[in-house]
Assembly symmetry: C2
Homo-oligomer: 448 residues x 2
């Protein structure tokens, strides 16, 4: 009897769950149902508006499905009958399944701000036509305000700025942009870079209202300041899209997402979930954590897709690994920041090292690369890391993420074997990762 697998949701989580299932079940009938005619690369959305030029250049090709013999239905699931193992769509189709993967993703958070319904107020909605409208609106705009100075907000700001015709201002509630992901010194570095690139950064300011007639004209701040803005983008985060799960009677926390076990199973044994729609836990505290990233989503999907008819993989709690770049400055963060760890009550020891990313420093194109590592004092365990530098930052922070995941201690990082090359890395004497750990070990020793 042929196994029937249905994936609900067409983003990176859904696609990866389908592909992974295919690898384990060559004979299964796999169907993916999604609402969207075309699917956007989620992390690419800000880049549509500067670097890429149009939403069409930021699509995930459907060959990812067809190459893996996954049937595509463009439709919307309205209800699930868990007992009968069937689902119904808005077009009144009924499909039966043996196992389902819910990958319904997330939706942009819209703050309860007076004026958010005015014209020319946008979010980072993963919708082709919506983003085309945003693109057209940007062509006519002059003053753009970005509400929210996290990764997405800053990426929008920098890409908008690349268009050349816009005055771009970022309004961030916290004392510094990026402060949920990075420590203050990294945040300051990024704010400085963005300012140099011509973007106005207003951190530590709270938006009170959006003002205008039909279309937005001003952002009013709590301090009374009024910013001219004929276009506003809200980049304050996302919430899990759990409507279908809720309506289907699955266990859901509306804020955190669909509850899943370590195998990515929901409260119904035949329904798995993966991606932005699921609840995640912090690798250190075990508390709920909002790591809604396509990267984490595909990791979950690789677990859900493998476990459908027999448990093969377990999910680790979320570390949270981010990277981004603005011009020639890239930054990355993995795990806890020093600030977050302290707020959590963890006694930490920090090690830092910076050096050129090529060697000797006179090699053309060499840029400073700096690493900060955060260790738990009592155990010496690596619990977080941050990097700033050039093109290698994305892989470097993944590397640090791997060390966190595999529970490395400071002393182990110190004697880590690495390769070095004049054109590609720091010198072996100055290798930042090892030296940052070495400085932390010295402090750990003093404390004893």
């Amino acid at each position: 009897m042929q196994r029937r697998i249905v994936v609900v949701g067409g983003g990176p989580g859904g696609i990866t769950a389908g592909i992974t299932a295919r690898r384990y079940h060559p004979e299964a009938e796999i169907t993916l149902i999604r609402r969207e005619e075309k699917v956007l690369v989620p992390c690419g959305i800000p880049y549509i508006f500067g670097t890429l030029g149009s939403p069409e250049k930021n699509l995930i090709p459907d060959t990812a499905l067809s190459n893996n013999d996954i049937d595509l239905i463009v439709d919307e699931v309205t209800s699930i009958n868990k007992a009968a193992k069937t689902l119904t769509t808005i077009n009144h189709e009924t499909l039966s399944y043996d196992r389902m993967v819910m990958a319904t993703g997330s939706l942009p958070l819209v703050p309860p701000l007076p004026g958010v319904d005015l014209g020319n107020v946008f979010t980072a909605k993963k919708d082709m036509e919506y983003l085309q409208k945003l693109s057209q609106a940007l062509d006519k705009a002059e003053d753009v305000a970005v509400i929210g100075g996290g990764f997405i907000g800053l990426e929008f700001a920098d890409e908008f700025n690349k268009r050349g015709n816009l005055n771009v201002t970022v309004v961030e509630l916290l004392p510094r942009c990026l402060l949920l992901a990075c420590d203050e010194e990294i945040c300051t570095r990024v704010e400085k870079k963005l300012s140099e690139r011509g973007i106005k950064i207003l951190s530590g300011r709270k938006a009170k209202a959006l003002l205008g007639e039909e279309s937005v004209q001003y952002v009013e701040l709590e301090n009374g300041q009024k910013l001219k803005a004929d276009l506003v983008i809200l980049g304050i985060g996302v919430r899990p899209n759990v409507e279908l799960a809720l309506n289907s009677g699955l266990e859901v926390d509306e804020k955190d997402g669909i509850q899943v076990d370590g195998f990515m199973r929901t409260s119904d044994e035949n329904i798995f979930a993966a991606g932005d729609c699921t609840a995640k836990r912090c690798y250190l505290s075990g508390s709920p954590i909002a790591v809604r990233l396509a990267s984490m989503g595909t990791t979950e999907a690789r677990i859900a897709g493998a476990n459908l008819f027999g448990i093969r993989r377990r999910v680790e709690c979320a570390i949270g690994i981010f990277s981004t770049c603005f011009g020639d400055l890239a930054v990355g963060s993995a795990g806890l920041t020093e600030r977050a760890a302290k707020e959590m009550g963890i006694d930490v020891v920090v090690g830092e090292a910076a050096a050129p990313d090529k060697h000797p420093g006179g090699i053309p194109g060499a840029k400073e690369l700096g690493i900060k590592l955060i260790f738990e004092r009592d155990t010496g365990l690596l619990i977080g890391g941050q990097v700033y530098g050039g093109a290698t930052v994305g892989e470097k922070i993944n590397f640090i993420g791997a060390l966190i995941q595999h529970k490395m201690r400071a002393d182990e990082v110190c004697t880590f074997q690495m390769g070095t090359h004049p054109m590609l890395t720091a010198s072996p004497m100055a290798y930042q990762l090892v030296n940052a750990a070495q400085f932390a070990v010295a402090k750990l020793r003093k404390a004893k």
Copy 2:
């Protein structure tokens, strides 16, 4: 009583041993003795002749010593009295020590080839004046032959070629250049790139003799071919510099190096050793292995320097992590190649994946990055990896090195949490490391 530490050798191993010792012993008297007036960055040597322009731009500054309160003596140690714990130099100075670190490095291998003593035949000697002479000779040369197509040989060839005035030919004994570090498909990629850059690659050819009157004029190959060459560089590897250790009665294998235990202690309990002069073992087989890299040397030095007056760290057997680049093609290798593993009798499973190193692929500057992972079939353990691509290859291969070091299995790499970013990495769906592991897991399953 003040502890006296003497380091013999001024390269990255010696300096790092001194600095590490200083971190643990703030009060100690630390002296470094070296022969050279100035010290070259070893891996930077080929880059002197193209990218950097002169040996003076490839120096390790002595501030690395002075900043750490390490006394420098430029002199040559001629003998050691282990019982008295004293050493004597060529200038008849006598120094006493409580602990010594030998970091005497390596010397270029000179093959027993007729004609190697002719004029204009050079090696990669770590000697400022010698390299200045090489630089001057290159200015007058027309046809240069590089004997040996390993990393150093190819780097010399590519840098010589950048000068514009030279016809450069590489002669490699093995069927492909780089074949000791990379599998054939990577080697072919590199050979193709170098050929496109104008370098003539003769692999699978053996040099039989160097011909000429006073100065070299031809390289004669075993197949009878005669290559015009008014300058020859021998890049066939290095041998450990063990003369002092041998004369001092330490346990030494002349081919492999000074024998050390897991704490980097020689056969004399007061003498440690680190760097190219020591014998190393393969992390998998435990057999001697010739990983003579500054990176490995500094790792050993961080262990030796920490252990002088109390054991704190242990060395892991050598993985061997290499990277290099030629124009826009960088390659890296860590651990065993597929070929070497098979020759060793290991049953392996290979996983491969390639994707653009930015996403979507239309992001300007995106380049293909490919990863090959080699797993042991019976255990699923990662035993080797290779990467080709752009600027991130150096850190990517270090990342793979870390996974080998920490004994990751294929299934663990599959569910690895990573961060991804349009400008900095592949897409999360196409993340090469995870997908390469996934392909290997699929093959491992089939085999069961």
